[in-house]
């Protein structure tokens, strides 16, 4: 047993750190550190910087143009970018659909779609949830009917994160009503500029436009955009879920935000209030424990000696911690978090009002925003079902 990273891993970390320092634009990291809204351009800009260096698909194997890093190297990359204040890479392309295309797509599909994902040129969205299909995803109803060389798609997807920017969307669609609900689902790649697609914003309680409804009205999708076999989509989607391991805990971002909690508490004069400080201390213990759990998973992956099936635990704990740090930041601001300032998440406004404590203005909105974390990606209650099944053996 050894807690420390190997000299090689340390050197790798240093290399990433130096590169991020030299390449992450300060305007962007300043925004990330102060809850300032990131524009599509900000996100694209960082994606393309990574893409140019071959790191937007940082989890990709070499054969598809990725760096071929192991689990520990991926973790170190994620940690160094998060700690430096890089935006979270929008995962739908490089992290979510790309592994499916690599595993189940045809060589032609791989040649066609992977380069645009790797470079950051093409923005992907995810079309899974529907108004009637949340935790029970397999009940989805959006239909795709084969007609000649096309599928005709009708239905509605929802909670499509950043779908307003999407160029392409990968969708789970119903191609059969026979057998179990899971066996009639297919995995389709759809150009969002296709006639018949309408994207409508959903405004969330923080006043932000982050998620959307996507309507499909007789949308023609060329049949060569079906991944793998018809009615096997559920299997491919599950592969995708299994692909998300330690990243799901987002512990690196939690470390960065914990530092921010402390800075805000100091600025707001509650750091020396022992009752408040103890709450930060509790969160600090939670973050260290989560990080240790993540490291255990990485070590198990590296050595292959012991299997560690704790993905559900990582999702539950990670999301709870994300909610907790935004909650503590808001509580630290106290009454100063109350005014609703629509411009609070704009860089210009924050700069103008810097002297008046502008940095606390977005904290309530951030807290509201984070309620999503225990709901999305398989609600924490669904995760508990999965954990319980593993523990109880049935």
């Amino acid at each position: 047993m050894d807690l420390n990273f190997t000299p090689d891993e340390q050197a790798f970390r240093e290399q990433i750190r130096a590169w991020v320092k030299a390449n992450l634009p300060k305007e962007i990291s300043d925004k990330v550190r102060n809850s300032i809204r990131l524009s599509r351009d900000d996100m694209q800009r960082w994606a393309k910087i990574l893409g140019k260096n071959g790191w937007l698909g940082w989890g990709w194997p070499k054969e598809f143009g990725g760096p071929g890093w192991n689990a520990v190297q991926k973790h170190l990359f994620e940690e160094e970018t998060a700690l430096a204040g890089a935006p979270r890479v929008v995962p739908f392309g490089p992290v979510m659909v790309a592994p499916v295309i690599m595993a189940f797509g045809s060589p032609e599909q791989q040649r066609r779609f992977l380069p645009g994902i790797a470079s950051g040129e093409v923005w992907w969205s995810q079309g899974y949830s529907e108004p009637g299909s949340g935790s029970d995803l397999a009940s989805l109803k959006t239909r795709a009917e084969r007609r000649g060389d096309f599928y005709i798609v009708n239905g509605q997807k929802t909670w499509t994160t950043l779908g307003q920017y999407g160029d392409w969307i990968f969708c789970l669609v119903r191609t059969s009503n026979e057998g179990k609900p899971q066996t009639g689902i297919s995995f389709l790649l759809i150009d969002m500029k296709s006639p018949g697609i309408t994207v409508r914003p959903i405004i969330t309680m923080d006043g932000e436009h982050e998620v959307n409804e996507v309507f499909f009205d007789n949308v023609e999708v060329p049949a060569d955009q079906l991944i793998g076999e018809e009615n096997k989509g559920w299997t491919y989607a599950k592969h995708l879920l299994a692909h998300e391991r330690t990243n799901i805990a987002d512990v690196n971002r939690a470390k960065r935000e914990l530092e921010r909690v402390k800075r805000i508490a100091k600025a707001e004069g509650v750091y020396d209030d022992l009752r408040f400080r103890d709450e930060i201390a509790r969160l600090e213990v939670d973050v260290v424990a989560l990080e240790m759990m993540v490291l255990r998973v990485l070590s198990a992956e590296k050595s292959g000696k012991q299997s560690l099936d704790v993905a559900g635990l990582l999702k539950i704990r990670g999301s709870e911690i994300q909610q907790r740090y935004t909650e503590l930041m808001m509580l630290a601001a106290g009454p100063s978090a109350v005014p609703l300032i629509k411009e609070a998440m704009e860089a210009g406004w924050q700069a103008e009002h810097a002297d008046a404590g502008a940095f606390v203005a977005p904290l309530a909105a951030t807290y509201f925003n984070m309620r999503k974390t225990t709901i999305y990606g398989g609600s924490n209650e669904v995760q508990r079902n999965i954990v319980a099944q593993t523990v109880l053996g049935s």
């Binding site: 240790m292 990485l298 635990l313 508990r384 109880l392």
Partner: protein, 373 residues
């Protein structure tokens, strides 16, 4: 970064587990509790395995093994609810003896390795509440020897110990003194503890003592000894929780109500998921505690307090919920679950409870946080 155990460590685990299964089943343990909570025969069994001298330097007849080996043993002793004071003698006191320059220390170390000697730390007092220097016991020089006066509580092994390492103040500074069992002006008042083990209060009325650690280095030695003790307790707790959770899972799958196993009820399934969460967080922080023992004091102390906070929370949640999930059978003396619960409870009250260590984490907090901070 590597959390695998070596083949030797797996063998060590196997050896201890087999010993527990063969020589320390629940009925055997019950008979030891009835007889006062300490079995000389069981201690000899541990000595025969060679592990009482685990941390004793090889020059003194021990194995000179490290912290991870200790963790492996503690997990297994926790799983078996072993009452004998392995951590107190073979880890905590052994550290204080191995770092002492006193001639008697070497002799005691050899005794620990053979299983003849049980030396334990007597640190806690009625009002010290886990604070190492908030003690009233005094030490005064008397010719070549020392005389120690004061009262110590919750001393492990108690009547079964052969000597005590007593923390005491001389002037304003803390020292550590060795007082032999049977010394004149030492009264040992033995009692059983809530978890069935043996302990005692010590009344020292000028008991004759030798100096183990002089003022100056005693504080640092004691802090590290306590941290070694915390890491050991964390590992013991993980072993105990592992077994308690396994018992609970088995019970949920066999106990039927309303015509079905209670493991089918979602309210209980989610509770079990939360229990599993607390168990894995605890295991993670137990590793953290052990692997941080070699760090410089400030980082080490912060880490050990962080671990004890997590363990405190986990032990209480896992203990309470596993009793709850068992229903009525969980509160009986007859069934093992309650005994695990009681041991977990006593572990929280040893070397600092959750609130005490939360205060330590709070006081030692820095700008950055994380495993490597």
């Amino acid at each position: 970064m590597d959390f695998d155990f070596t083949d030797d460590q797996e063998m060590l685990r196997d050896t201890v587990r087999k010993w527990v299964e063969k020589s320390y089943d629940f009925e055997k343990r019950r008979s030891i509790v009835k007889a006062g909570g300490f079995s000389r025969e069981a201690w000899k069994g541990l000595a025969d395995l060679g592990i009482t001298g685990l941390a004793v330097p090889e020059a003194h007849g021990g194995m000179g093994f490290g912290a991870v080996d200790a963790m492996v043993i503690m997990e297994e002793l926790g799983r078996g609810l072993v009452l004998e004071p392995f951590a107190a003698v073979s880890l905590v006191a052994t550290h204080l003896l191995a770092t002492s320059k006193a001639p008697e220390a070497a002799q005691r170390l050899e005794g620990i390795a053979t299983g003849k000697d049980l030396v334990v730390l007597a640190q806690e007092e009625r009002h010290s509440r886990y604070r190492l220097d908030a003690i009233e016991t005094k030490a005064e020089k008397d010719g070549d020897a020392w005389r120690v006066t004061g009262r110590k509580i919750a001393v492990p092994a108690g009547a079964g110990a052969s000597a005590f390492i007593v923390s005491a103040k001389n002037g304003g500074s803390l020292g550590l003194f060795l007082v032999a069992q049977g010394a004149s002006r030492l009264e040992v008042k033995p009692y059983p503890t809530q978890d069935g083990a043996a302990a005692a209060d010590l009344v020292l009325a000028g008991a004759i003592a030798t100096e183990l650690h002089p003022a100056g280095d005693a504080r640092a030695a004691l802090e590290l000894a306590v941290d070694i003790g915390i890491a050991a307790l964390c590992a013991e707790a993980v072993g105990a929780m592992d077994k308690l959770v396994a018992l609970t899972v088995e019970y949920m799958n066999t106990r039927k109500q309303f015509g079905v196993p209670i493991a089918t009820f979602q309210a209980l399934r989610h509770r079990m998921a939360d229990v599993k969460m607390q168990l894995e967080l605890a295991r993670s922080m137990s590793y953290f505690a052990t692997l941080k023992l070699g760090e410089p004091a400030p980082a080490r102390r912060r880490a050990l307090s962080q671990a004890k906070v997590q363990l405190g929370q986990s032990m209480r949640f896992v203990g309470q919920q596993c009793i709850q999930l068992h229903g009525g059978i969980g509160v009986t003396d007859e069934y093992a679950a309650s005994h695990y619960f009681k041991r977990l409870t006593v572990i929280e009250l040893t070397f600092g409870d959750t609130l005490f260590h939360l205060g330590e984490v709070s006081a030692r907090m820095q700008e950055t946080a994380g495993v490597f901070a």
